[in-house]
């Protein structure tokens, strides 16, 4: 009920697959998706293993509510050890692939080993094939989807795949499903590439059932209504996530030119309004909005690039619509690298989807390269003759493509900012935590965000905690530790349900509880749900500690700790991590070295 109680384990080295019963004890302790996959990961591999080695394990995980009528039920997570961070990676995606995997009858797909030659996985319910992908190796994500559907004469297949970036080990390569939805962060696509796995194609007709259909449908109707009438939901539907651009610009939390500034003079040319506004020649960037599976919000943007724009004027193959800018892409290709050309941003966004890369890390790495260029550390000889200056739109799109195709300087950018900056002897230029680049929130203006970034188990991430309201209200580090910890646990729980974090625009824990309780066996209280989240967080932490990370990795770049914000509400302030972190460890029940105490582990059953 709601869980399919089945996992598919594929050993790529041996070319074998087996269907196993789901460990229900673990399911009840970790729900699904992020939590459950983390548990399986921990039990399936040595955390010390090299992320790019066959010993790493790659897990695609649905949640108990994935594929149900609950709003936003299309989520799945890709959990593995990330090559960008050498820490546990958990990347969440929507689209239709996750629900399809669930409809095929699986809670989890566990991939082990490394195929001797490139392969893809073809799954139709219980029918599982590991098929040669020689012809697909070197193809883009978009070509791969088309090829597989045609090959199997099945337009109903949902496909998650990697591009050349993933094949060649770009450290922030992602897994793209349904053309422009991605399990984006920490380089999960590079792990897939290292396993010689080009794609997973799945069609399912088993379906999903719930424990108490009548109660579930009632809970679903109520929670949908709540979401429908909420202001947050309406904003997301109308403007998409890029509405955030104005908030951060006004606030002074918009990282600009590799965090040298916190406000961007070109923000109003790349914000949500700009996407909707007609250019003098009549072109409008935004075409429509589209939803992931089951989602009644539909924040996804569908956009097209002006055919006369320099990026595609001679490239008709891009004269079509595709996934448009969401906030993180707009931030990373706009303010962060100083570019205000919305068509260039959109094109670079297309390229990320087409070649399978994380726009946040690519933008962060490019921004670092631009800083190195402007410092004179690298020059045109290094950058294939391109002037890597902040604000150069061509540099953005050319480098995006080079990185996607793993050509020239793109191979250096493909290292991610940490390794790249270390290579050039300037590790301080990399704006990252545990090797993963920041999202579009400056932690001098948003202190709780800073703590969240520093302690996130997958490196810098804005989606693993939620202290947004607290940060907007108060720009000091005081009192942020407890709400940060509590929101991390809450978010870890939500990430384990199969639903989308954006529902929290209207939903509290109770809304998740009543849907879970009607769908899944067992009695579910809010406390029990939160405990699943806290358990997950601590398990992820244990994975990282076992992998060799320490409290020293729970930190931020000096630029945020020592260089005051130049403008905005936090003008003159730095991130007070030194105040927040000890409080946080205490709130977590961890030692001062950031290790879960025995008592904490006992309490959580770890």
């Amino acid at each position: 009920m709601s869980w399919q109680k089945k996992i598919l384990r594929v050993n790529l080295s041996e070319g074998s697959s087996s269907i196993e019963p789901l460990n229900m004890e673990w399911a009840k302790a970790y729900l699904g998706e992020r939590g459950l996959a983390s548990k399986y990961l921990m039990e399936s591999m040595d955390p010390k293993a090299d992320a790019m080695s066959p010993e790493n394990v790659l897990i695609f995980a649905t949640g108990p509510l994935t594929g149900t009528m609950a709003s936003t039920s299309g989520r799945y997570a890709v959990v593995t050890k990330g090559p960008l961070t050498n820490a546990i990676a958990c990347s969440n995606s929507g689209g239709k692939f996750g629900a399809e995997l669930k409809f095929a009858g699986y809670d989890l797909l566990i991939l082990e080993g490394r195929a001797p030659d490139p392969v893809y996985l073809h799954i139709v319910n219980d029918h599982v094939e590991i098929l040669p992908a020689r012809e697909l190796w070197g193809c883009t994500v978009w070509q791969t989807e088309e090829w597989i559907k045609a090959r199997h004469q099945n337009p109903l297949l949902k496909i998650a795949s990697i591009g050349v970036a993933g094949e060649r080990g770009v450290r922030f390569a992602c897994v793209v499903n349904d053309l422009h939805r991605a399990a984006g962060r920490s380089g999960v696509g590079a792990v897939m590439g290292a396993k010689n796995l080009k794609a997973v194609a799945v069609h399912g007709s088993v379906g999903v059932t719930v424990k108490d259909p009548k109660r579930f449908m009632k809970a679903v109707a109520e929670t949908k209504d709540l979401l429908e009438s909420s202001r947050g939901r309406k904003g997301l539907t109308k403007y998409g996530t890029n509405a955030m651009m104005d908030t951060m610009q006004e606030f002074g939390g918009l990282p600009t030119r590799n965090f040298h500034e916190v406000q961007f003079e070109g923000a109003d040319r790349v914000n949500a309004r700009a996407m909707m506004t007609s250019k003098p020649n009549g072109h409008v960037n935004l075409l429509t909005n589209k939803a992931c599976f089951g989602c009644t919000i539909a924040c996804g943007r569908i956009a097209h690039i002006d055919e006369r724009h320099f990026t595609i004027v001679n490239r008709k193959e891009y004269w079509h619509a595709s996934g448009g800018l969401e906030y993180e892409t707009a931030f990373a290709f706009g303010p962060l690298v100083g570019v205000d050309d919305i068509d260039a941003l959109t094109f670079a966004g297309f390229l990320m989807n087409e070649h399978g890369m994380d726009p946040i890390s690519f933008g962060g790495t490019l921004a670092a390269a631009m800083e190195l260029y402007e410092m004179g550390v690298i020059g045109k000889d290094d950058t294939d003759g391109i002037a890597l200056e902040f604000g150069n739109a061509e540099a953005l799109t050319v480098m995006a493509e080079k990185t996607g195709k793993y050509e020239g300087f793109g191979q250096i950018l493909g290292l991610g900012s940490r390794l790249m900056c270390e290579k050039y002897g300037h590790p301080e230029i990399s704006m990252s935590v545990k090797g993963q680049e920041f999202a579009g929130y400056d932690s001098r203006a948003m202190q709780g965000m800073g703590l969240g970034y520093a302690t996130s188990n997958r490196g810098a991430c804005h989606l693993k905690h939620d202290v947004f309201a607290e940060d907007m209200e108060d720009q000091s580090g005081r009192g942020k530790a407890v709400p940060c910890k509590e929101s991390q646990d809450r978010v870890a729980m939500i990430d384990s349900t199969g639903l989308c974090l954006f529902t929290t625009a209207a939903w509290g824990v109770e809304e998740f509880r009543k849907q879970i309780d009607a769908a899944c066996e067992g009695d579910w209280t809010e406390e029990r749900l939160i405990a699943c989240g806290e358990r997950t967080w601590n398990l992820e932490r244990q994975f990282n500690l076992a992998a060799g990370l320490t409290a020293a990795d729970d930190t931020l770049p000096k630029r945020l700790l020592e260089v005051p914000a130049p403008s905005g509400v936090a003008k003159g302030k730095v991130c007070q991590l030194d105040i927040m972190l000890p409080e946080y460890y205490e709130a977590r029940g961890w030692t001062k070295d950031g290790v879960p105490s025995e008592q904490t582990r006992k309490r959580l059953g770890l």
């Binding site: 045609a150 090959r151 199997h152 004469q153 337009p155």
Partner: protein, 414 residues
């Protein structure tokens, strides 16, 4: 007005019902020579597998259906027609006078001229009575030879295999379904059948059948001989037109009818398997012995018999078949049109195949294997002669986009 309908199959019954609505004060008499209430041959395979009983084959539910409609169903057989006197002679000795006559007498199974085809244990599988005899002989484990792997043969094939017999199929043609599938599709179906434990011999001929050890022995031209307890003959059907021999009604492959389903003789119409009517794809006259044509023929003939003037725009040859779980379908000029172009997508390993045939930028025919969703749009595209425009090159590349092309083209029109 007196309407007489010869034949109680789908064409005749739909005509009778249509006449009742369109011409309420007329008398409608249907003459059928089988003992059962009007039934559908399409349902026979399901009767053979036991998934339905006799009643499940009936064209209409409810014992009093025809009585309520005041349609007189008479069990008898037409032996002749006097088109001058407008009178049908019946085998039972009586006769029926008509103002308008519909010939919907269908067809009968024919056996090839091979020695021993009249032996006991050789059966057709065409009527309900045949089906009962086949069922009696096709016991689990029995050795059964099916002669003919055309449409009818393949329908029966599935039913026989499900009964657990040891089955051998013998087809004269070089492939299975020679008139419904091309080499690629025919070969896939053959391989599929073989993978399910059915022996399939194509390009094979039976030289003679003889009695042996209480069973039958088939001598093949190849020299091989086969033993069987039951031989099911599905080698072909022929229209029931003997009773028209002495009339002016023109007959070629069937009763020739014009676009109003009227024969060469005024007030004599024909519909269904016996009718050789306009073919949508070629404009020529063809016998399309398929259920949808029977139904459309019956309806339109009746409207015209009732005094209307409804034109029949031609029937589209199409078939759908389930061979041991592998669904195949064919439409229109699937073998291609002169000067046309072909798109193919085949996955032999997974038994999937789609072939589209174009003339200019219109779809004129198609074959599909393993396709069960939205397959009807192929008919829609062919029969509305929709111009595919920019979709044609895309379909040539990837015929699977046919549903997308359909939606896009029809929505553009709407």
């Amino acid at each position: 007005m007196k309407h007489v309908i010869i034949g109680a199959g789908p064409a005749g019954i739909i005509a009778a019902e249509t006449l009742r609505r369109a011409d309420p004060r007329s008398t409608v008499t249907v003459v059928g020579d089988e003992p059962e209430p009007p039934y559908s041959r399409m349902a026979i395979p399901y009767l053979l597998t036991g998934s339905i009983g006799d009643a499940g084959t009936h064209l209409r539910r409810g014992a009093d259906h025809f009585a309520k409609l005041a349609v007189d169903i008479r069990r008898d057989r037409a032996t002749g027609v006097d088109v001058g006197d407008r009178r049908v002679a019946l085998a039972g000795g009586g006769h029926l006078d008509y103002d308008r006559l519909l010939i919907a007498s269908g067809s009968h199974a024919v056996r090839p001229p091979i020695a021993g085809m009249d032996l006991q244990g050789v059966e057709n599988c065409w009527t309900l009575a045949d089906a009962r005899r086949v069922a009696a002989g096709a016991r689990a484990g029995a050795r059964v030879v099916l002669m003919g792997a055309g449409f009818i043969g393949c329908i029966v094939l599935e039913a026989l295999a499900k009964r657990g017999v040891e089955l051998t199929v013998i087809e004269m043609g070089e492939r299975m379904l020679p008139r419904m599938m091309d080499d690629v599709g025919g070969e896939m179906i053959k391989r599929w059948c073989e993978s399910k434990g059915v022996r399939v011999l194509t390009g094979a001929r039976v030289g003679a059948v003889s009695a042996a050890d209480g069973g039958l022995e088939l001598a093949l031209d190849s020299g091989e001989s086969l033993r069987a307890e039951l031989v099911v003959c599905a080698t072909g059907v022929s229209p029931n037109v003997d009773f028209l021999a002495d009339t002016a009604v023109r007959i070629e492959d069937g009763v020739l009818v014009d676009e109003y389903l009227c024969s060469s003789v005024a007030d004599v119409y024909a519909a269904g398997d016996v009718a050789q009517g306009p073919d949508f794809s070629t404009g020529e006259r063809r016998v399309h012995a398929i259920q949808p044509t029977a139904s459309e023929h019956g309806r339109i003939a009746a409207l015209n018999m009732a005094g209307g003037r409804t034109r029949f725009r031609g029937s589209l040859s199409m078939n759908v078949l389930n061979t041991l779980g592998l669904v195949s379908s064919s439409f229109g000029l699937w073998m291609g049109a002169e000067g046309g172009e072909t798109a193919r997508a085949a996955d032999a390993e997974r038994f999937r195949y789609l072939r589209l045939e174009f003339q200019a930028d219109r779809l004129v025919g198609a074959l599909a294997l393993g396709l069960t969703q939205h397959v009807g749009v192929i008919r829609g595209l062919i029969q509305t002669r929709v111009r595919l425009g920019q979709w044609k090159p895309q379909l040539l590349r990837d015929p699977l986009l046919v549903m997308d092309a359909y939606l896009d083209c029809t929505r553009r029109r709407a």
